[in-house]
Structures are given as structure tokens and as C-alpha cells.
Subunit: 490 residues, 2 copies
């Protein structure tokens, strides 16, 4: 009876009609609220009723998931998003935040700003949690809350039933099994990575000035090493050299001659770009003082990395950006896979052999039977897939195909087709590369230099999702130009 | 010989004449740079030579220390600042950052922006370190580096010799010895406090929406309790209620009826303000939904506080702001003290009975023999003292009194006189209090309402130190007004 009272109170304390509400069922509760040592609680957002809006559950808040949620019609569907972070990161501009060219919040977009239904529709929710499993037969996702940051709450498990499930869990950085990467290197994929890089860089600069530091340690602390010459690695190197040339010289004059940047890449830097652009990037980075080293990392220790040829490279800051691969949760899901271990999808982004499950973004790839190649792990692929799938589900929902197991005989319309729009990367010193070829072999426009940099900035400024952040990115750029970068270590 | 080579290399790698350089002496070194288990290193910035610029060492980067450094003439003195943070916090606006009305960086001012000499004069430095002791006879400060944030550096000790020493170490929050305050409550004095409050508040809001949370826990998580009804506690309560009324209602519609704010104060709120203003603040806060409780906290537990009368108050967020008192380092220094345990100073802010030591800000108070009362721990007191002392030392330095033990017979000019300009506090909902009386008993202008709020905002905007931050504060206010507060939990 007490359970019933709790639920009724929850429902009657609002003014909306009852049938709009999700079927929230407390399956069982073993804990009392004042006892933090209590065992696991278990609760669920149960299946929707036929007269309720169908529920789309989205796993992940990256480019794919967010673009999908943005496009999904909240008049047709309730939207439930499960993710360990409540914001999307505008990844192409993340490297700029590490040195203060942009502020962290300017590149973070809260989900509630992307899809307002999440915060104010009675049946739509955002759950700060990780997905731990999927039960395709029961149309159910298993989750566990992320309570990191509080001592008074133990994480607990719960399940969410779905009518449609969209897996957009992204990928994780590859380390090629190299020992010590996870312990000592910093990746550059989340805002907290950029925060860590910024704090460490400023700490190393300050420590280098204190009496008692040896020449050798000073050199080590101020040696910034980036492993991986893709766009992220190159853009971060460029930002770092801008920071050094403009801000370190002025703000850390005592140690300005000690700071150096090394970019280590096993093959070519920016391998997907036109050869002329690659050459331009190489020249430009070298001119800005970035040392380009061709090498393969064998081992990462606390204060140095060891290359395949035995060279030891001492470092004070190590940033790792050698691409991405499937994450453990993707491996563990009992779903069809694409070559390479991503979640398998067909031409309509459906996961074959199960009902009502879709996958988009870096975590998915076409199954072999489609004859299509796996698309690169790029923001533009993820975004295009999210947009396509939102359109598809909106269409399906309008003809009553929104509820579970009701989509079988519907015409899904055109398949997803990806058309590459080109690539861009900045290399620092107000220079950038723009490669508008559709693929590596095709011919097409490619540009490098200041004009490209203007194109790069304008293009990204218009891609930033909210007006608020677009405004802040522009303001941050302007103040960096006028006042230099902020060096408070907060 | 190797020591000599290291030093000469250091000196000759720059283009400035040798005699401008500080006497950096490595007293002894026991560690090798690649061995993190090595024992303590010991190094020093030795005494200045008579032909060198005299060195002023400043301990602390609060209002007093920063205003002092800003005013000190870097053509006369080398400035060495020792502090565990490399920025000043514009404390009157810190409460606004907890809910995203302002951004953290808008209220943090890097020292290098306040006194550029610190970053580019060869003999001026900023050392990220704590002061651990003072040897007044040897004119020497003992320090230890703050290396929190890196695993590859053990903290080490070093000494800095001074010609003049300015102690501006501030104060620490008082807890009245109440058990559990340090463990469970958050203070509101540093940027990282505001960051912690913001992250916790957003986490609690998100956790309250997840299936499996009980009604009781939801109420607890969303109960924000503030202990202490001074300006900080009141302003934070006001900001919180603004955040709830505007942003929580819109962004966390599912739980908006659960969030509550309670302000606990043992006596009167805003006791230093005019009685009419106090009454206005009480009404305004109550109208905004803040529950005002008169009570004394007896004990703080993980999930609840216990009042003197036995009442238990469960909380999800606990902010503690009951004033400040001397910190352990102040207690430990073997220097004259004022009544109340602050560092004793005379009318010229000198510490009596020792040579060349001054103290300003919350850490100092007039010695009994001056017959002057201890000034309140306010930003305006600290700032005025910093300004006065900079003027005094500039004057002394111009007549060759800058070096150690050379100030004895100089005329120091006028004594420091404090004139209170009045107090301000905002109470949320675009309302504020402005009390322009010179003290509690005096008569004078006092205002409350929207006009005061305009005065409050304008006054603080003009007090923000750098143009960069002044610009950002204005921009933050404007975007909060237009777009609401940012809720990304980064």
C-alpha cells in the first residue's frame, strides 16, 4: 500500500492528465534512504500503454544521439535519453579550449537546450546513467546511475522499456594495447580531458619557475608530446604553438625558452588530406616550432615514452589521439556486428534480426550483407545519420508505427546515403586546411592558408548548435585576440 | 662545477644584464629528476645585492595582496608572490557563479594580469606554493610547492629572502568546532568551492529524476541548506531562488516542486545592515520561497544537520558561510598578535618588533597599543590597506629605503585610516540592499529594491579588475537574461 501511495502522490501532484505519464513502477526496494550501506535498489520505467505516446530511448549524447534527438518530433514520441553526461561536446573546437582560446562551456551544449522536451514533457527524461545491457526480446535497457561526485548516494540499477531504441554510444580511444597509455596520457574527447590538459599545462609552467627545479626537470615538465597526427593531434599542436608564441612568451617569460611541442605519428600526419595540404601542414607546424617525429610508441612510463627504436622521450604533458575503436559495452552487446566489431546496421540504420533497435554514429557499421563499407568515425557521419534516423522515425510514427513491434510492414522510404562534404583542420597561426574532395582519390577543391582559416572558423561557428554558444564562441575568439588567453588555474 | 655551469647557462641564455638577476642559489640537491621517490630538495632565492632592486615578497593573492601588487612600482622593486593559487577571486560575485549566472573565469583574475612584472621582469616571480614559516631575523620565508594535480612531482621546500615582506594570507572559514562541517559542508570562498556547489546541485537535480529514487530521498537531495545569514549566505540564497524560479522550473520540470532552500542563522540575517533593510531582505527572501530558520547547528552528518533544539534537517547540499577567523599558519607565526589572534600591526601596517614585515587584509589587526579596533574582514578593508601599503613602500623605495633594514629613520607619512563606504547585498529577483552608513550607529542613506540592484550591479561591474573580466561579467549577465543559465555539468 505504501508503494501505491507514493505513486499516486507523484501523479496527483501535477496538473497534467494521468494517461500522459510514464508507467513508473518500483519493482522492489530494499533500501531505506538514510542508510547508505543498503543493497541495490531496482526500479523501472515500464512499457508504454497503447494509448500513450510511444517512447524512444536514446543511448548516448554525442553527435549522433543529439542530432537525432534534435530532429525527433516530441509531439509523436516521448524521448528518454540515457548517458553519463548531460551535454554534447562540440568536439571540433575542443582542442581550442585546452589553452584557453575558447572556454569549456562554449563547446558544451546541454541536452535540454538541444531537445527541450527532455526537460519539460511529462514522459520524456534525461537519466544520468550508463547502459549496462539490452534485452531485445523484452524491449528493455538495463542502466546504472552515475553518482560520481556525491558520497551520499550509492549507484543503483534500473531498467527502461522502449518502443524504439537508438544506440549512439560512440567509440573509445584506441591505445593499441600499449602499456601505460591509460595511466599517464590524456585523451582529448571530453570536456574534462581538456580541463585536465589545461590545469596540467599551467601547473607545469608554474612549477618550472620555482627555485629547486633542475634544468632537466624543467625541460621535461615543459615538453608537451602529442601522439597521433590526425586532425585532433594536429589542431591541438597548432593551438599549443599559438599559446606558446603569444601567451607563454608574455606571461611566462622566465621559462619561455624551455617549452617545446613534439608530435609523434607512425605514418603521415593528416593522412586523409590531399598531399599538397599535408605538405603545407608539415611546413606550417615546423615553422611554428612543433617538432614532427615519425615513430611508433612502444611503452608509456610516468615521465617518458619509449619509441620502437629505443629512443626515450621525457614529457611533462602527454596527449593521446590515435583514433577510436569499439568500446567494451559495444563488444558485450549480443547484437549483430559489422566487420571491425561495431554494431551491425542495414541501409535504414536498423540492427538486423532484432525489432525496433537502431544504431548511429561511431558505434555502428554496415553489416557485411549490405556490401557497404564502414563509414569513418567522423562528426559529420554521426550527425547525418542522426538526422536521417529522426526523419525516418518521425515518418513511421505518423503512420502509427511508433509502438514496439509495429513497424514490420511499413515502407521506410529511401536508404541512408552518406556524401562526404570534405575535411577541415587548423594548424595554428591563423592558418587552416580545407579539403573539399569527396574522398581520398577524388579530385576537387583544396585550400590552405589564411582564407581556409576564415572558412574553418566561419564553418564551425555556424555549426555550433545553440545561439548562446555561437555567441560565446565568437566572443571568446574576440577576447583571445584582444586580451590573450586566460591563465587562471581554476 | 656542474652547479656553476647550470647557473651560468641560466644567466647567459637571456639578453638582460647580469646584475638584474636574482641570486638564485641551489643550496643542496639530493634528488635526480627521474626518481620520484627522492628525498626533499632544498633551494632558495637568496638575498638581493645592494646594487640590485630590492625584493618585496607578498604572501597571498586575495584582495589585499593583489591590490598591493597592483599598486607597487615594479621599477623600484622586484616582486615575488607566493600563493597556492595563481589568481585573485572577485569574491562579491562568487555566489553568482554557483548557479551559472556568471562563469567561473569571469570572477577569477590571474595575477599576471594584475601585476605584469610578475611574469616578465627577470627578478619578479610567482611561486605556486604555501608559506610554511618566516624567519624574521634572516629576512627569509620558508615555502613548500603545491603540486596537487601532478603525479610526477613531489612537493619540495625552498626559501625566499626578502627586503620587505607583506603578509596577506587572509583568513579561513569558522566552524565553531562543530563536528562534520569540514567533511560535509561546502564553503564559498574559492572558485573550486563554487564549482563543487554547481556540480553537486546539478547532480542532485538529475539524480532526482531517475527511477528508483524514493520520495524521501528526492526531497533530501533537493533540499539546499545554507548556514549563516551574512551577505554571502543571503546572496547565495537569492541566487539559488532565482535559479529555481527561472531555470529549474523550465529545465527540470519533473522535479521542480521538490527543490527548496533553507537559510539557517543563529541571530539576525545581515546583522550589519540597517534594520529596515534587514526587514526588506527577510520579506523578499520569504517571498522567493527561501525558508528562514533561526537556529544553532549542533552537529553535521552526511545527510542531515542537527540543530540545538534536536531538530533534524536532511539536506542534499550544505553551504557553510558563518564568517572567518585566523588560519593555522597565522597562529603558528612567531609574530606579535592583535586581540583575536590576528597578526598585530601598527598604524602604518608594520608588524611591530620586527624589521620590514607588514601585514594587510583579513589576517591582520591593530595591536592593542594603537588603541584602534580590529577592522572587519571585508574586501574593502583589504583593498584599502593594499593600496595604502603600496603607496607607502613606493615612497620609501624612492628614498633608498627599499633594501632590508634600511627603513628605520625614514618618515613614513600619514597613518592608515579606514573610512567605511557602505555595504551592499543582493537578495535575488532583481532586488538588492545598499547601506551607505559609515557604521551601524550612524545615520545615512539606505536603499532597497530594484534601484539598489542596479546600483549593486553597476558598482561591482566597475570594481572588477581587468577590462577582460568586466566585459565577460556584462556578457554573462546579458546571456543569463536572454538564454537562462547554463546547466551542462562539466
Amino acid at each position: 500500500m505504501s508503494l501505491f501511495r507514493t505513486l499516486s502522490k507523484r501523479y496527483f501532484s501535477t496538473t497534467k492528465p494521468l494517461h500522459h505519464f510514464p508507467s513508473l513502477t518500483l519493482l522492489s526496494r530494499f533500501s531505506s534512504t538514510t542508510d547508505s550501506t543498503a543493497p541495490v535498489r531496482y526500479a523501472a520505467l515500464g512499457p508504454t500503454k497503447p494509448h500513450e505516446k510511444p517512447r524512444v530511448v536514446v543511448l548516448g549524447t554525442g553527435w549522433a544521439g543529439c542530432r537525432f534527438m534534435k530532429g525527433l518530433d516530441s509531439r509523436i514520441y516521448d524521448i528518454v535519453c540515457v548517458s553519463p553526461r548531460n551535454h554534447m561536446v562540440f568536439t571540433p573546437l575542443l582542442a581550442s579550449t585546452c589553452v584557453g582560446t575558447l572556454e569549456f562551456r562554449s563547446v558544451a551544449e546541454p541536452i535540454a537546450r538541444i531537445q527541450p522536451a527532455i526537460s519539460n514533457e511529462p514522459g520524456s527524461f534525461f537519466f544520468l546513467a550508463n547502459c549496462t545491457g539490452i534485452n531485445a526480446d523484452k524491449h528493455e535497457v538495463q542502466c546504472e546511475t552515475v553518482t560520481e561526485g556525491t558520497q551520499t548516494l550509492e549507484p543503483w540499477k534500473f531498467t527502461v522499456s522502449y518502443d524504439k531504441l537508438v544506440i549512439a554510444l560512440g567509440a573509445q580511444p584506441t591505445t593499441f594495447g600499449i602499456h601505460g597509455v591509460h595511466e599517464h596520457a590524456i585523451f582529448l574527447r571530453e570536456v574534462y580531458h581538456a580541463q585536465e590538459i589545461r590545469r596540467k599545462l599551467l601547473l607545469n609552467l608554474m612549477m618550472s619557475e620555482v627555485p629547486g627545479i633542475s634544468e632537466e626537470e624543467k625541460k621535461r615538465l615543459l615538453h608537451c608530446v602529442i601522439v597521433g597526427g590526425g586532425p585532433t593531434g594536429v589542431e591541438f599542436s597548432g593551438e599549443l604553438s599559438d599559446f606558446i608564441m603569444r601567451d607563454v612568451r608574455q606571461r611566462y617569460a622566465h621559462v619561455k625558452d624551455y617549452i617545446h611541442v613534439t608530435l609523434i605519428e607512425a605514418n603521415e600526419i593528416l593522412s586523409s588530406f590531399d598531399v599538397r595540404l599535408r605538405q603545407y601542414a608539415t611546413n606550417q607546424l615546423t615553422k611554428s616550432g612543433v617538432r614532427l617525429v615519425r615513430g611508433i610508441v612502444k611503452d608509456v612510463e610516468e615521465k617518458k615514452i619509449i619509441l620502437n627504436d629505443g629512443t626515450e622521450v621525457p614529457y611533462g604533458l602527454l596527449v593521446w589521439s590515435t583514433g577510436v575503436g569499439p568500446s567494451p559495452i559495444i563488444h558485450s552487446l549480443d547484437l549483430p556486428k559489422s566487420p571491425g566489431g561495431r554494431i551491425g546496421i542495414d541501409e535504414w540504420l536498423r540492427v538486423p534480426s532484432v525489432q525496433d533497435i537502431f544504431s548511429i554514429g561511431d558505434c555502428c557499421g554496415f553489416v557485411e550483407s549490405t556490401g557497404k563499407p564502414t563509414l569513418p568515425a567522423l562528426a559529420q557521419v554521426a550527425e547525418r545519420q542522426g538526422k536521417y534516423l529522426a526523419g525516418l522515425l518521425n515518418k513511421v510514427g505518423k503512420v502509427n508505427g511508433g509502438h514496439a513491434n509495429s513497424m514490420k510492414d511499413l515502407d521506410l522510404g529511401g536508404q541512408f546515403v552518406y556524401k562526404h562534404l570534405g575535411s577541415m583542420a587548423t594548424v595554428g597561426s591563423y592558418k587552416a586546411l580545407v579539403d573539399l574532395r569527396q574522398n581520398k582519390e577524388a579530385k576537387g577543391l583544396s585550400l590552405a592558408g589564411f582564407t581556409s582559416w576564415i572558412v574553418w572558423r566561419s564553418a564551425y561557428l555556424t555549426r555550433v548548435i545553440s545561439w548562446r554558444n555561437r555567441f560565446y564562441v565568437a566572443i571568446n575568439w574576440a577576447t583571445t585576440f584582444v586580451f590573450g588567453r586566460d591563465i587562471s588555474r581554476i
